[in-house]
């Protein structure tokens, strides 16, 4: 378990964060670049000092500014995966991971065994003798995870783990990482500026803005009840779970009563995302296929600038964003029943 309550002045504002992460929980820390989320990780790892406050790991203080407690990063046993993965380029994959195992002051033989086990856990035992720099981005991420894992960490911290990957591999790596995080037994924090990464990787999501936590909750909570226009605008996305099957017309994803058609290839349990502004509302059933249409009740209305954000519930919860003019024209109020059509091209399957 990790608990922290710290403050630290950053360049443009003060960082003020209070968080608690449970033993088998993954928290996604999401926010725009420069909101202080990486600093939170570095404070937990001991790479930076807070100005005030405490950090606790497994019930013991690693930082307590008040009493002067300071545990060095070497003694914290916190595994960290860096944005650039920070693999030692002069060493083989195995030697990199052994570094982690040796950190537990295991004798050489045991360290090797532990390293090989960790590599096997991420499916890279075949590449043990390859130089770390010769791997693809996704593989480097896995080595970095294995190295952190081999050190027997009490907490795992991941700093922008997806940002070094190109778009084509992100989807696959994200699913792998999700499975990995579900399998580990220590608390994990994933820092990201990507909303989809945060929503898919985190059990809970914490949105940060200018050094402060603006909202924290599970996915459904955040998406349907954004507490501020910033959160709504920042999240800006619908995300629902479903089951994908391949049909003649493309991929059909069943999410409760809603059937969605997408051009993305996928199979089995998936996550579907689409932007609120790709949802078209109407009072009458749109013509054509019944797919990509949800018959739903208006459960919330938020006004943001010239646009209205309308939360809908029809078995699954989604959010639509329409112009204020369109909203007036439809005359929508809470409890009204509408048809929400989602453009097929806007639907992405993960």
């Amino acid at each position: 378990m990790i608990r922290l309550d710290v403050t630290k002045p950053l360049r443009d504002y003060d960082l003020e964060v209070c968080l608690e992460i449970g033993q088998r929980e993954t928290l996604a820390l999401v926010g725009p670049t420069g909101c202080g989320k990486t600093t939170v990780l570095r404070i937990i790892a001991g790479l930076e000092r807070p100005e005030q406050g405490v950090v606790m790991i497994d019930g013991t203080h690693v930082v307590d500014v008040g009493s002067g407690t300071w545990v060095t990063p070497q003694q914290r046993r916190v595994g960290m995966v860096f944005q650039d993965y920070a693999l030692f380029p002069h060493l083989s994959v195995l030697r990199n991971v052994e570094f982690g195992a040796r950190a537990r002051s295991l004798p050489r033989g045991q360290a090797r065994t532990a390293a090989l086990e960790a590599l096997a856990a991420v499916g890279l035992d075949q590449l043990a003798d390859v130089r770390a720099t010769e791997l693809s981005g996704g593989q480097q991420q896995r080595v970095s995870l294995a190295r952190a894992l081999a050190s027997g960490p009490r907490a795992l911290l991941l700093d922008e783990p997806m940002s070094a990957l190109d778009a084509s591999t992100r989807r696959e790596v994200r699913a792998e990482l999700r499975r990995f995080l579900e399998g580990i037994s220590c608390p994990a924090i994933v820092v990201t500026h990507d909303v989809v990464d945060a929503l898919t990787l985190g059990d809970r999501v914490c949105v940060m803005h200018e050094g402060k936590v603006v909202q924290m909750g599970d996915r459904a909570d955040l998406l349907s009840r954004p507490r501020s226009p910033f959160v709504a605008e920042f999240l800006g996305v619908n995300l629902i779970s479903g089951e994908a099957a391949t049909t003649g017309e493309g991929t059909e994803v069943t999410c409760g009563d809603l059937k969605l058609l997408s051009a993305d290839a996928a199979q089995g349990p998936v996550q579907v995302t689409f932007s609120p502004w790709d949802v078209v509302l109407s009072r009458t059933r749109p013509e054509g296929s019944a797919r990509n249409v949800l018959h739903a009740t208006v459960s919330g209305i938020t006004h943001m600038g010239g646009r209205s954000r309308i939360a809908l519930n029809g078995g699954v919860s989604i959010v639509a964003e329409i112009t204020y003019g369109a909203h007036e024209e439809l005359g929508l109020g809470l409890g009204d029943v509408v048809y929400a059509a989602i453009k097929a091209a806007a639907i992405h399957v993960y």
């Binding site: 570095r42 790479l47 990063p73 914290r76 860096f82 920070a86 030692f88 570094f99």
Partner: protein
């Protein structure tokens, strides 16, 4: 706008590839422009080599005074390089990583020997370590005299070579990504272990080339040595000093010595370039 910048890009690409095509007007111009400084550097070196017969070089290698000067040059310069590494490495690391005030001033002072005329450096060293020098007075009180000894040669050479090693090492240390050091710390490695297992292996080429440049400078050191250590055969007469001495009596052997020193310096230079290019290929 886009169209314009695209054309510009194309032109630039053309210019760049043009330089590589032999016979192209641009590449010819580039060659001509390089020719003058190239000739300026090569002419004296070639002239020197042409003046000397291979037989004379071999004969000189049999003379005890020549051998003595060579051995002295090699041992003193090697010692100076080792001393530079020992005292320069921590300073270079501090300059590369430290975030303390006064860094720029320290950096400027450590680079001073690069712009200081060697003769002035020699006089300054005399004023510090000489019999009536600032530190020398105390030392001679203990019966230690440095001036006009082989140790003085090493001190003079270290003084002149140290900045080159520090510069090289500093560049090397700076090239190690911060995240690697952070990773090592979170993995439980002490700072000292991190230094030897991560920093040194990754900055190795820069450390080696810095040491080689320092060595080259030490071998060629003349002004500071003659002022501070004197010109005593077998004790402080290194190769450059031996050349000056021979020049006054026996021009032939001075030329031979010069050729030997030239080939030695060239060897060091090529070695340094090779180590550095190896680094580029590796990354």
């Amino acid at each position: 706008m886009h169209r314009a910048s695209a054309t510009e890009m194309q032109n630039r690409t053309r210019a760049r590839t043009g330089l590589r095509t032999p016979g192209d007007a641009l590449s010819l111009a580039a060659l001509v422009l390089c020719l003058v400084p190239l000739a300026f550097v090569l002419l004296p070196c070639v002239s020197l080599i042409l003046k000397v017969e291979t037989a004379d070089v071999l004969a000189a290698l049999g003379k005890p005074s020549v051998v003595e000067a060579m051995v002295l040059s090699l041992t003193t310069s090697a010692t100076a390089t080792v001393v530079s590494i020992v005292i320069g490495t921590p300073a270079a690391y501090y300059l590369a990583r430290g975030e303390v005030r006064g860094k720029r001033i320290i950096d400027a002072i450590l680079n001073l020997p690069l712009v200081l005329p060697p003769v002035v450096a020699g006089v300054a060293l005399l004023m510090a370590f000489g019999r009536r020098g600032l530190l020398g007075e105390t030392l001679s009180g203990w019966g230690v005299n440095i001036t006009f000894t082989t140790i003085a040669v090493v001190i003079a050479q270290t003084f002149m070579g140290l900045p080159l090693y520090i510069q090289g090492a500093r560049t090397g240390f700076q090239s190690v990504p911060r995240s690697l050091l952070d990773a090592a710390r979170t993995l439980g490695l002490s700072d000292l272990k991190t230094f030897f297992k991560v920093t040194v292996p990754l900055s190795w080429p820069a450390l080696v080339s810095g040491a080689i440049l320092c060595w080259g400078r030490a071998v060629g050191e003349f002004g500071a040595t003659i002022m501070f250590a004197g010109n005593m055969e077998g004790k402080t007469r290194t190769m450059p000093l031996a050349i000056l001495t021979a020049m006054q009596a026996d021009v032939e052997s001075a030329l031979v010595l010069a050729v030997l020193l030239l080939s030695f310096s060239c060897g060091i230079f090529v070695l340094a370039r090779w180590v550095l290019s190896g680094k580029e290929r590796g990354s």
